[in-house]
Symmetry: C2
Subunit: 706 residues, 2 copies
């Protein structure tokens, strides 16, 4: 196509005055709106700072780096070339120092966990394959060695994995076991005589599967296997296993296979690994949480096998954290493109007879896009909270078992919501741009294809939400510890249970949401901030209480019967966890709004927060009606209020997506480059000139009237 | 991968007894279910016949043809090769006689419109690019010449377009005008002196866009342009314009561009065409609905310009009809794969301590997949109604303006629902298969990518639903014709309006739904068939009545004010149209069930129909509560009833998807080939043998107890 893929000017920047004050440029293609929108306006640059969050400078550094076209995804590139290109991008990343942030200083790293994820996530703008292959190398393979290994492993492998001399695969998932890691079939049997472990794949389903770097580039793998020594299975542990020689041939006993073409992320060489009695030295057990002595005796600082297993898995939580951030950034990009196009593209006559209407002026178009912008804002704020918690735990600043558990639950609650939302929003954006949205260069389809698997990898979304649901149930049960069964039952069915539960456990964030200030505009129809919070929090409480009551008989049942009872309530448990995640996002958004000083920004972001809160409530409106928490009249007003908020937010739509801070090299979509506006202006100029010339053909209708 | 892509045996066939009686084979991998499910069972072969519908034999013929691997999509094939492959498939199709069914016998065709679409739709199983490129050539380019042209055009071009000597593009859409065809910018100005039309693209936005065959293979195009003669614009007409010479070079005045890589359908060479004062003979106007004499005088059998325009567009309705069918078949394929896998794949211990649970035994898994199977059944039945109506109109058997209008509205109501459902269901199926669902060979990702654009082409789904909504409003207004404004207002706000409206206009199908027989099982909780119908039909009536009341002031407003009022209700109008489409699907499903003789089949399909009806009601539960049509108690029972129906349908899930009648060459997904069952059985055999050997390692936990 002939349209310029990269705009000559940065629109976001042009909005900012040199002194960093309020923006002055007109608002949208529709001049009538500029006046209407002149008060309030958001301070675009300041909002960008907010959205980039605690590690804004690292994000900016990463965004600057990926302006280099060498990092960009090339649509339609055949799979083999794409794989080589992404491998070369990883080397480029090493050169830019992008691979070492998380690792300790003594190995050339920076020891900065939060910054590492913040910078890494931005790679999604260049090519999600680059983001995920980097994640495989440094976030999974590298982290396994760093987090699960000890000094001898660090000394031996960290430097060469940081600089990519040692590319590796993370071999956890098996064909037969994805989410149920504890049940994997691969065995690592200790041979005390040889002082070696024997790594073995006992049946086809135990083959390691879907591993990035396993198809082609990996030289070694961190392999999860059942550790067996002295006839005892000590559960899943991780082992360093070389898989290919320098020429790329499988080592003896190793069989790798290529997973072939995938739905997206085709810059990554996913594959399978099977082991046929492969022997590795005893020292290759990554033994931070469990050791085997030369004589085969096992020891661990964590006596409980279950706790030990979850501690090892928890050390790898960063994958989920980073997917939450990357999904949010990818979603924001799609919204930037769709909103920018919707502000320029015209379709159908407005009724005036002369001008066609800009897409974003259509009621349906506002309804389909604007609540999604609100959702993305909520996700940015919630992600920064998650990232701060992650950094606190991994920096050691707040590394307690409780904080680790909270971090894992928070990641398990947020990652499903943001990754699902990415797919649904990118798809809506693509459809909102019609056929142009389907052309690869306009980015939506590539983003959807690449981000598709985010919803099932690093923990299947439904499985993660189930974990969150179980945590909510156990927190709920703790509220009643020491109380007798009768009291418990009474609480569980009564409204009072809600009060006890409120603010406890994971909902700690909620405690910051007490002062909603004087944002009077958010007071409308009895659906202002504190009522939104009551509705959202109340729903979580009620759902958890109901579930607890329904599952209470499980204690008296056989394991199979208990599992059946649980299964009958599985969908509700997942739904309760989702409600919890939505509440967390809402609270984070509200915290963010409360920190805003600028009046115009605060007002617009409060509308946007309301749009987010009410959109969640609208989604679950039937629940609120059935539970008696909203009257039919109040419920009906929710949708009408959302309609009004859409109209109110509409003039600010471009500012709100400009505030994502993307530059032309990140956007790269011709339909968001201004070319559409040029075309529309051309068309209007053509007809104006034709009319002025007196040579325009008359219409058949007008002829008839004569 | 090493798994066989094609199964040696047909599972659907193995279910059928030689005598064609009730199936006898056990039901699922879980033997416990076989007994439970032994009564009732569906007659799989008979249900296949029902689903394949009126033109079952043509469908079977097409399915037989595409067993040839030459027709299959090859994942990861670079775009240029894929385009050539699909072109060669079109030639193969010609050899098989697949391109001529719709055309008249005097040109070598069969004159069978229903069979044509029925056969054509099945191509989606081979490669959706093949389906759509065929659609471009014979359904759009060919139909334009056949339906909009006259004998001189047929004589000249039909035979060579049928046998692909003349590949062509259908040049309607422009960069600046997609859905608003009436406003396209391309002009065809008659030059009486030369007896030629001058085809011209006056500005960039008027460039023809997204045209299949325009990128590479097209030699001519049917170009839609504003017909101007004698200084008068007679509106949009269609012209035959040669675009490339035999060597594939653009003809003088023609500029073609390639659209490049798309989100899917990359076997099709979409592109752009611009015209710089290109001259064509006067005879190249396809003049069935409007002629220009040599002296430039215009004449038409249809005096109203608006009606003429819509008649021309209506002649091309088959695109929408066929997308409804193809989307349904594609969705069924995804469901076959996901359900088959879910019946074999095991994950997590059941609580028994020995066996892992088959995925489809999980409550959440049933909830996410089974209502979608019900939806697909409804679509198959509704599509057959649509296809029969299409055939009636285009065969001339029932070609009245009313029938044409009904056909267009029916297509506009059903195509959006089935194409959106395709994307959402294929995605759910892909996620339900985890990482395996993301591997291209398992089909989901390719289907999603290819079918993505179905929701915005051949009429953007939202625009189509808006048309349906307007038709509903005008049908509604007709009910009151002759009544005064006061009576109208009274009806509009009262419940009685519903009674008047019921059964009228498009809801003609509903009249067949009066006898629900004695399927006593569907009587449950006051949500049996007739109540489902009342709820679904009542919703359409109420929404339309409310909209009519809200829009009534429009008549007294300026065009711009009326447009603004309409815009404020645009989202509701689209929602009302969607409700109408859902009702049509439900009624078609119910009609289908009523025709079943076999008791077991009737019982299971009645459950499935209930699952479909209640799933729609659950989706709109808030509306039913707010409007007072369901009490909170009754509303709560809807979800519980769905849960129970899922449990009831679950043992029949495999039968229900086997009844789609796909054979291994249509499925081609390794995870649905039985390989997963082999792997699972291997794993269980391994552990059983290990336990029997006495050499199994003991668990750490058991050690502790000692």
């Amino acid at each position: 196509m002939t349209d310029a893929a990269v705009r000559p000017k940065k629109p976001a920047t042009s909005r900012r005055t040199p002194a960093g004050g309020a923006p002055t440029a007109p608002h949208s293609a529709d001049e009538a709106r500029a006046a209407e929108a002149s008060e309030p306006r958001i301070d675009v640059a300041a909002v960008t700072d907010m959205l980039l969050g605690t590690w804004a400078s690292t994000r900016r550094e990463a965004r600057e780096m990926i302006k280099d076209p060498a990092f960009w995804r090339v649509d339609g590139m055949p799979v083999p070339e794409h794989r080589e290109r992404v491998l070369s991008q990883l080397h480029l990343l090493v050169q830019h120092g992008g691979s070492r942030r998380a690792f300790p200083k003594e190995y050339g790293g920076l020891g900065d966990n939060g910054a590492n994820l913040a910078g890494f996530q931005e790679l999604v703008l260049a090519d999600p394959s680059l983001q995920i292959k980097s994640g495989v190398q440094w976030g999974l393979f590298g982290s396994a060695i760093y987090q699960l290994g000890t000094k001898k492993h660090h000394d031996r492998w960290l430097e060469q994995l940081i600089d990519l001399r040692l590319p590796g695969a993370f071999a956890m998932t098996e064909i037969g076991h994805g989410s149920d890691v504890a049940a994997i079939g691969t065995t690592a049997t200790y041979d005390a005589e040889a002082e070696e472990f024997v790594i073995h794949t006992p049946f086809r389903g135990a083959t390691k599967e879907f591993l990035g770097n396993a198809g082609l580039h990996g030289k070694a793998a961190t392999v999860f296997a059942q550790l067996i020594t002295g006839g005892v299975n000590y559960g899943v542990h991780c082992f360093f296993v070389p898989i290919r020689d320098e020429e790329g041939n499988d080592l003896p006993g190793i069989t790798t296979e290529d997973d072939g073409v995938k739905g997206g992320l085709n810059g990554i060489d996913n594959g399978r690994i099977a082991f046929d009695h492969v022997r590795i030295p005893r020292e290759n057990l990554l033994d931070r949480y469990g050791e085997v002595a030369a004589d085969g005796s096992y020891s661990s600082d964590i006596p409980s096998p279950g706790r030990r297993f979850f501690t090892m898995l928890g050390a790898l939580v960063q994958g989920r954290v980073s997917l939450d951030g990357a999904a949010t950034t990818g979603t924001a990009l799609a919204e930037y493109i769709a909103i920018t196009y919707a502000n320029q593209r015209r379709q159908f006559d407005s009724g005036s007879g002369t001008d066609e209407v800009v897409l974003l002026d259509y009621g349906k178009h506002q309804r389909r896009l604007l609540p999604r912008v609100a959702q993305t804002y909520a996700q940015f704020f919630a992600h920064d909270e998650l990232l701060k918690k992650f950094d606190g735990v991994f920096s050691g600043a707040s590394d307690t078992p409780e904080e680790r558990e909270d971090l894992e639950t928070l990641a398990a609650a947020l990652k499903p919501l943001s990754t699902w939302n990415a797919l649904s929003t990118i798809q809506e954006c693509r459809e909102a741009c019609g056929g142009a949205g389907f052309i690869a260069e306009n980015r939506f389809v590539g983003l959807h294809q690449d981000l598709d698997v985010y919803v099932t990898f690093e923990g299947d979304n439904n499985v993660l939400l189930q974990l969150v649901g179980k945590r909510l149930l156990s927190d709920y049960a703790k509220q009643f510890k020491g109380k007798d069964a009768a009291a418990l039952a009474k609480f569980a069915v009564g409204q009072t249970a809600g009060k006890l539960f409120h603010g406890a456990g994971l909902r700690r964030l909620g405690q910051a949401v007490t002062d909603f200030g004087s944002t009077a505009r958010s007071v409308e129809l009895g659906l202002r901030a504190d009522q939104q919070h009551d509705l959202l929090a109340g729903r979580v409480q009620r759902m958890v209480a109901d579930l607890a009551a329904a599952l209470r008989p499980a204690g008296k049942l056989s394991p199979a019967e208990a599992a059946a009872l649980f299964n009958a309530h599985q969908a509700e448990l997942i739904e309760a966890a989702r409600a919890h995640g939505e509440l967390l996002q809402w609270e984070a958004f509200t915290d963010g709004v409360n920190h805003v000083q600028d009046a115009g920004t605060k007002e617009v972001l409060t509308w946007l927060r309301d749009l987010f809160g009410l959109s969640i409530i609208e989604r679950h409106l039937a629940w609120y009606l059935i539970s008696g928490r909203l009257s039919a009249q109040r419920a009906a007003s929710v949708s009408r209020y959302i309609d009004r908020l859409c109209v109110r937010v509409r003039p600010h739509a471009q500012d709100l997506v400009d505030a994502f801070g993307f530059e032309p090299e990140h956007v790269r979509a011709p339909i968001a480059s201004g070319a559409e506006k040029v075309r529309q202006d051309d068309a209007r100029a053509h007809y104006a000139a034709l009319n002025a010339s007196g040579e325009a053909p008359v219409s058949e209708k007008s002829l008839r009237k004569k």
